[in-house]
Amino acid sequence: MSRKPALLLIPGLVFILFGFAIPSAIMLLAPPSTDTADVFARFGAMLTDPYDLAIIWRTVRIGVIVTVACVVLGFPIAYLLARSTSRFAGMWLALAIFPLLLSNVVRTFGWLVILGSQGAFGQLLVVLGITDQPPQLLYTELAIVLGLIQLFLPLAVISCYSAVAQVDAGLDHAARGLGATKSQTLWKIVIPLSRPGILIAGTLVFAGATTAYTTPYLLGGSSQRMLSTQLFSYASVSVDWAAASATALMMTLLVFMVSGLSSLISRKAGVTS
Amino acid sequence: MTTAAEFTGVTQAYGDTVAVDNLNLQIEQGKLTTLLGPSGCGKTTTLRMLAGYITPSAGTITINGADATRLPPEKRNLGMVFQSYALFPHLTVADNVGFGLKLRKVPATKRRELVMANLDLVGLAHLADRKPKALSGGQQQRVALARAIAISPSLLLLDEPLSNLDARLRVQMRSEIRRIQGETGLTVVLVTHDQEEALEMSDTMVVMRAGKVMQTGAPATVFTAPANRFVADFLGYENFLTQSDGSLLTVRPEHLRVAAAGVVPTTPGLTVAAVVRESVYRGVDHIVTMTATDATGTPITLVSTTRRDTLTADAGFQPGDLVTAQARDHEIVRLTSEN
């Protein structure tokens, strides 16, 4: 087998080059009947246009909020499950991972039922007499944030779980034996040692949240555009290839910058520790 | 003698590392040959070239007189037992042993018979229907052996077959492998880094160092007449004394006796004045480490071990005692070359 590895590689290589790498590069830099210069001009204009800037800023803001929330909520789940001796721990882990298999569309519909004008949350507020009129929660940034947290929390849980599970529980016991409190053990031992996994979790969530389409489309509507919904609108409504490419370029750069930053941090941490 | 396999000028290099260097070696038919040497000396590389998993950079390998240098492993009909055993995890013990027979299109009933016969040979017929995962390390090792033997190989190759077993089982398997070799009349090549294993099991032992053969011979010959300092050192000689004529003498620690300073030996031999550095009780024996100077004036360390039951009452030497270290003529080995 090892004598002809190239033959095994060729079909896959041809496919990924012509079905992915080359078309993506062309789309980003030289879309049909458009000059590369136009794409860059449009890209530059995005950085000064207040409307575009608002979208970029919203995308980054939502990405950061969702990332922080997913790590803050996901790490405790991962930590408690990884250190649990309960026989139900496996079941709880499966419950946290299961949503990954479920359609984004189905998961996001839940928020329509909860946040919609006839939705559960609004009704609850009215019944409790807090407001007369159900508040407008749908098509707000809050709705997008909630939807994206739901979407990406399972991913954060898995990454953190494998990181914490790798930290020998014996270290926890050793630290406690030396007089550390539970929270000191967590902050001084477990979190520093599982930092690479937490970093991966953050990167995955950020990349997912800033490029997701379904959730901002369903929960943000046209008033709360993100780069993804804006890109789709350039591509299919106004068919403005230069603008679409510039937006796509912005989205791709954003993701690459954050993954680059995170691998830089983890490499630096690897050198010093 | 008939030669089962022969290496002629075989070299194997990985980039700058020469794993095997101009190797010339004959494997005798029906005998058990061991390749012995420290880690990284090229034993595995030699065995894998013989099995056909790697092609030599230079030289030729013949098997049963025919050139096999570039023959793929499946055409060599050799039985190999891997250090990791490499049992097929998805097949039962019986199917593992029958794998090679199936490829040789042996009919099912005959195959079953041969599988059971070979499992009987290693004493595992009762585990035929288990999966490898449900076996102990020692049992897996026997299955690997049965699988390799089942194809009636022209040579049986074993790469450190005993190193993953615990000490007791290891000793037991040594005689087990010898018994199987005797019963089947197979030509066996066994790789080990354990000199005791090599001495106990081999008809011929090949001592290697850094890709080169240092000495080949029967265990008794190699043990009593090591060809050079490396072989002697590897086989447990610990006292090396350079003579004034430049030649090198060596004595095993159990042959070096310690006596009070000035005691004259009754038999002809070697006498060296020394100072005791350390004297330690070790259960079966007692070990005395001494400092002395050889004929060239170089400081050397001498080691003597004495079995407890032969220890005399006044043998309790203390550090700092002046003593003489003595060896009889027939216990002294004269090395012909330094390396």
Binding site: L9, V106, M251 | F88, H90
Partner: protein, 264 residues
């Protein structure tokens, strides 16, 4: 959770956000009323009947299944040999090649979708099924390469050598030893691929046509126009199917094992 009030509270909040919206969808699917309201009015299965009788959903379901099966098969057919070459062959620039095959995971799906729309549908005048097949397969290749690669990396390479030594040709060794060793990895990769393709929105949205539209895209369209419990019923049916897949996954290989391969 005892003695960990802060961690426990955060974890409970996390589970609520992950799970409760799904429960709301399920509960509204069983309503007897006409509107997607909460609490539901009465209990009935009527909306399930309507969803299964609604031709666009049924047609889209079949399209989605067809696309998921074909693209999964294609991704495995292309990806498994790549895994073999990477894990067992001595190829130069191994990590570069592996990186290329994993890169569809980092490039935003909308970018891939738009690229294929321009190049394949407009440029080469291909049907939307062809474009979708290419797009989905590209998206699934990382799973095929990484998940099967993880299972192959765990296997002892000496096992394949042992087969050769016993007389098996390289081809025979592949089919009687390597492939059985890869089977759990291929199964995991296949399962993840199927689910990923079935659930995909961005590619399916950009590359749809009137003749070929997947179920998630059809549902998104539907909810823009009318907002009734039929969509909750269809969602609940998808949930039921997903639960079945999850149980199969758990019973055969174990959940954690299947997902373990993704993040490494």
């Amino acid at each position: 959770m005892k003695g960990r009030p802060i961690l426990g509270t955060l974890a409970v909040l996390g589970y609520i956000i992950m799970i409760v919206p799904i429960l709301f969808v399920v509960s509204t699917a069983f309503t007897a009323g006409d509107a997607l309201t909460f609490p539901p009015q009465g209990v009935s299965l009527r909306w399930f009947g309507e969803a299964l009788a609604y031709q666009p959903f049924v047609g889209a379901l079949l399209s989605s299944l067809q696309l998921a099966v074909v693209s999964t098969a294609l991704a495995l057919l292309l990806g498994v040999p790549v895994t073999l070459a990477i894990q067992r062959g001595k190829i130069p620039g191994k990590s570069l090649v592996e990186g290329l095959f994993l890169s569809p995971l980092v490039v935003p799906e909308l970018v891939v979708g738009l690229a294929l729309y321009q190049q394949i549908m407009i440029g080469l005048h291909q049907t939307s099924f062809v474009a979708l097949l290419v797009g989905h397969t590209v998206l699934l290749l990382p799973y095929a390469v990484r998940v099967t690669g993880a299972s192959l990396a765990l296997a002892d390479p000496a096992v394949e050598e042992a087969a050769r030594g016993l007389g098996a040709t390289p081809l025979r060794t592949f089919f009687s030893v390597t492939l059985p060793l890869l089977r759990p990895g291929i199964f995991s990769a296949g399962l993840l691929s199927f689910v990923t393709s079935f659930n995909n929105v961005p590619l399916s949205l950009l590359l749809q046509s009137r003749q070929f539209r997947t179920l998630p895209v059809t549902m998104l369209d539907y909810v823009q126009q009318s907002y009734d419990p039929m969509i909750a019923a269809m969602s609940t049916l998808i949930l039921a199917g997903t639960v079945v897949i999850a149980i199969v996954a758990e019973k055969t290989l174990g959940f954690a094992k299947i997902f373990g391969g993704i993040n490494k």
